[in-house]
C-alpha cells in the first residue's frame, strides 16, 4: 500500500499540471523525470549531447501535452516513457514513430471496454520483473532498454527468432499475470 503511493503522487501531479499549468508543479516533475528520461535515451545508444537535447524536447512535450495525459490509462512514468520513446525514435530514424489514438475510424463510439481495468504502477512491475527467469528478463531489457528488434536480439544471442518471440510472450504473460494476481 505504501509502495503504491509514490507513482500515484506523480500521476496526480501530472493531472494537476494539465489543469493548473502551474510552473512550480512542472519544476517538480522536471526534477524527478528529466534525469530518468536522459538515462533512458543514453541506454538507447545515443550520445550525451543528443540525449540532453532529446530529454529537453521530451520534457517540453510533457508541458505541451499534459492535457492528453489520462491517469485512468497510464501512470505518469508510462506516459512520459512513451513521449521519450517517440522523441528518440523520431530522431534516430528521421521519421515519425506511428502512433495510435482513439479513432474516428469506429462507426460506433468507443464503449466501456476501452477503460483499462487498472493502471499498472511501476513498483508492482519492478517486483514482477525481478521474478522472471534470466533469459526472459534479458529479452525484455534488450527490447525496452536497447531498442533492439527481435531479429537483432536473435542474431546477438544466437537463438532462433521464434525462440526470442516465445521468451517475450512468456515474459509478458508472467508480468501481466503476476500483476493481476497482485491487485
Amino acid at each position: 500500500m505504501r509502495q503504491a503511493e509514490a507513482p500515484k503522487r506523480w500521476s496526480d501531479r501530472l493531472s494537476d499540471l494539465a489543469k493548473t499549468k502551474d510552473k512550480a508543479l512542472y519544476i517538480q516533475l522536471f526534477k524527478h523525470f528529466a534525469p530518468k528520461v536522459k538515462a533512458y535515451i543514453i541506454r538507447l545508444g545515443l550520445v550525451e549531447t543528443t540525449a540532453e537535447e532529446l530529454m529537453q524536447e521530451t520534457m517540453l512535450a510533457v508541458w505541451r501535452k499534459a492535457h492528453l495525459f489520462n491517469p485512468s490509462k497510464a501512470a505518469a512514468s508510462t506516459w512520459i516513457f512513451t513521449l521519450a520513446r517517440n522523441q528518440s525514435i523520431d530522431w534516430m530514424r528521421k521519421q515519425k514513430y506511428p502512433e495510435y489514438g482513439l479513432e474516428s475510424w469506429h462507426e460506433e463510439p468507443d464503449d466501456e471496454s476501452d477503460v483499462c481495468e487498472q493502471v499498472v504502477t511501476s513498483d508492482r512491475m519492478a517486483k514482477v520483473i525481478s521474478q522472471l527467469p534470466e533469459d526472459q528478463a534479458q529479452v525484455i531489457y534488450m527490447s525496452f532498454y536497447e531498442g533492439r528488434s527481435h531479429s537483432d536480439i536473435s542474431a546477438r544471442l544466437g537463438v532462433p527468432l521464434g525462440s526470442v518471440k516465445s521468451r517475450i510472450r512468456l515474459a509478458s504473460g508472467k508480468i501481466k499475470m503476476m500483476w493481476s494476481d497482485d491487485v
Binding site: 541506454r43 508510462t78 479513432e103 483499462c116 511501476s122 512491475m125 527468432l161 517475450i168
Partner: protein, 242 residues
C-alpha cells in the same frame, strides 16, 4: 467492428518498446487504432516501459536544462485546455489523433472519408483509399509502396488484390504483418476481414486468396524478403520486389 485476428503478444511488446521497424510499427499502430482489445493490451505493455524508466539510475542533466526548457515554455503560445473527459483525447500520447480531431472539425470531407483509413496511415496516403496510385505486379495484383523504413530488405506497402486472385504460396524469413483495410481473404490460418491482422512469422507457409467479390486492400510490412515455395514464385520475386 468485429475483429477476430489480433496482434501477437511479442509484436505488441516490440511496438511498446519502440524496437520495431517503422514499417511494422505503422501496421501495428493502424490495428491499434481499430481494435480496442489490442489497445488495452498495448497500454499494459507500455507500462513495462514506465517501470523501466522509474527504475533507471538518473543521469546528470545540464545545469541550465531546466532554465532552457522554462524559457521555451514561456515562448509557447497559450494552449487551450481541453475540456475534461473529452473522449477523443483520452488515449495515451495521442498527438496524431489530437491533430486529426482538430482538422476534422474544420473539414467535413475528411469526416466522411475517415472511416476507410486509420489515422496513422493517413499521414502517408491521406484520408481516402480512392486516390492511391497503384502499380501493377501481375494482372489483378497492384501495389503502392510507402516510404517507411524497414529492416533487412523488408517491404512497406499497400496491396490491392482482385477477387479470386491469390498471392503466390510463400513462407517468411522474418515477420510479416498484414492488416485488411477493405474486402477479405482466406489463407491456411483462417478468414481475414476489415480490421483483422495477420501476424505471421517464419513458422507459417500460406497462400492468401481473395474470397469475396470486391478488391481486397491491405497494408503489409515484412522485415525480410518472403520465401516463395514455387518455381514461378522464385522467378517473379525479383519483379515484385517482395
Amino acid at each position: 467492428m468485429n475483429i477476430k485476428h489480433h496482434l501477437d503478444e511479442a509484436t505488441l511488446m516490440s511496438y511498446a518498446a519502440g524496437s520495431m521497424s517503422q514499417a511494422m510499427a505503422l501496421v501495428v499502430a493502424c490495428h491499434l487504432s481499430m481494435c480496442t482489445a489490442c489497445r488495452n493490451r498495448a497500454h499494459e505493455s507500455e507500462a513495462i516501459g514506465g517501470m523501466l524508466l522509474d527504475n533507471l539510475k538518473p543521469a546528470p542533466v545540464g545545469d541550465d536544462a531546466l532554465a532552457q526548457v522554462l524559457a521555451c515554455i514561456d515562448g509557447l503560445p497559450e494552449l487551450e485546455a481541453e475540456p475534461s473527459g473529452a473522449s477523443l483525447n483520452t488515449s495515451l500520447n495521442n498527438r496524431a489523433s489530437c491533430e486529426k480531431a482538430e482538422s476534422f472539425s474544420s473539414n467535413n470531407d475528411q469526416i466522411t472519408s475517415a472511416s476507410s483509413v486509420p489515422s496513422p496511415l493517413d499521414d502517408y496516403i491521406g484520408s481516402s483509399l480512392e486516390h492511391i496510385e497503384w502499380n501493377r505486379i501481375v494482372p489483378g495484383v497492384h501495389y503502392h509502396d510507402l516510404p517507411c523504413k524497414t529492416e533487412r530488405g523488408g517491404v512497406s506497402r499497400l496491396l490491392r488484390i482482385a477477387p479470386g486472385k491469390a498471392m503466390l504460396p510463400h513462407s517468411h524469413d522474418g515477420n510479416e504483418l498484414t492488416l485488411i483495410l477493405r474486402g477479405s481473404f482466406t489463407d491456411e490460418v483462417g478468414r481475414f476481414t476489415v480490421g483483422d491482422i495477420a501476424d505471421l512469422d517464419n513458422e507459417i507457409q500460406h497462400q492468401p486468396l481473395v474470397d469475396s467479390n470486391e478488391d481486397c486492400i491491405c497494408l503489409i510490412a515484412t522485415d525480410a524478403p518472403l520465401k516463395f515455395s514455387t518455381l514461378l514464385g522464385k522467378i517473379v520475386q525479383p519483379m515484385t520486389g517482395f
